[in-house]
């Protein structure tokens, strides 16, 4: 069988296109200490715990999603990954997008409690869904913890 240069170019283009189409966004792994803290499901004293989970969905899977909390970046998520941090009790605003322009959710955190939100692509701007502790803990155990986070609790409670 004879394969000419043109055929090779076509095959290379098709393979490249297929890789581009099926590729998923990936984020670095969190440190073992961060994972241990997240998997303990026990927020520090006088704090609450916030988990933002991105389950797998084909739509938008090639792109990392930026999550913002209040005035700060909370982190970036690839598919099947989650972010965790202890947060201060009180009202919080979670947003998606570099400018927080793809949807917002508000919740009031109580000290000692954990809050689990999943994200899904939506044209209506309703990106976040609060889920139960049982579902949330299952996702956290199954998914990867994203290390792409620079969030810092602004002050001690």
């Amino acid at each position: 069988m004879k394969i000419n240069v043109r055929t090779l170019k076509t095959i290379a283009l098709a393979v490249g296109l297929a890789v581009f189409v099926v590729s998923c966004a990936s984020v670095p792994d969190a440190s073992p200490e961060q994972k241990q803290q997240a998997l303990s499901f026990s927020p520090p004293p006088n704090m609450a715990g916030l988990y933002v989970i991105r389950p797998y969905h084909i739509a938008g899977s090639a792109v990392s999603w930026v999550v913002k909390l209040d005035y700060q970046d909370f982190g970036s998520l690839g598919t099947s990954s989650y972010l965790y941090s202890a947060v201060l009790p009180g009202k919080h605003f979670i947003r998606m997008g570099v400018n927080g322009d793809y949807g917002m959710e508000t919740f009031v955190a109580e000290a000692g409690k954990n809050y689990y939100f999943t994200m899904k692509p939506s044209l209506s701007g309703h990106i976040f869904d609060q889920i139960s502790e049982t579902e949330g803990q299952q996702d956290v155990r199954d998914f990867k913890m994203s290390g792409a986070s620079s969030y810092k609790v602004p002050f001690n409670p």
Binding site: D70, Y71, L88, P89, G90, K91, H92, F93, R95, G97, N99, G100, D101, Y102, M104, T106, V108, P154, F155
Partner: protein
């Protein structure tokens, strides 16, 4: 022919808009819950959320600062003419709390409305961009609310 072109333009007409906020979202009903000499910092965290900044002041007190930026982006047009605009307004609230973590005073501020418009046309196949920015003053920053 002109009618067909007009029909084509209308069929390709489209527009999109996006309204979003940055920072702590608060309105009059939230601010009305703040009572001088009574509201605590714990109450503030539940009403307005985490402040953008906390600055120590004299006598062991603190100044808490919150802001909310409201943005509206729109874009639309037909072939050969596209118009996009962005309107942004910021409001803020500065709160003084004493060493016992009780609100002593607060001030509301509202920034100007800034509108940026951009028009793109292709009269001869070459894109021409015309941009304008207008600023409308609403209230000067730091106006004390009525008590």
């Amino acid at each position: 022919m002109p009618i067909a072109f007009l029909g084509l333009c209308l069929s390709l007409w489209g527009c999109a808009w996006n309204h979003y906020t940055e920072g702590s979202v608060f309105d009059a009903s939230d601010v009305n819950q703040i009572v001088k000499g009574k509201t605590t910092t714990t109450d503030l965290m539940n009403i307005l959320g985490t402040p953008y900044s906390k600055t120590p002041i004299a006598d062991g007190g603190e100044q808490w600062f919150y802001f909310c930026s409201s943005n509206l982006d729109t874009a639309g047009g037909v072939p050969t003419l596209m118009v996009g605009s962005s309107t942004k307004q910021q409001k803020n609230i500065t709160i003084l709390v004493n060493e016992d973590k009780i609100v002593m005073d607060y001030k509301l501020g509202e920034g100007p409305i800034i509108k940026t418009t951009e028009e793109v046309t292709w009269p001869l196949g070459i894109p021409i961009v015309i941009g304008t920015q207008t600023t409308t003053n609403s209230k000067p920053e730091g106006v004390s609310p009525k008590n």
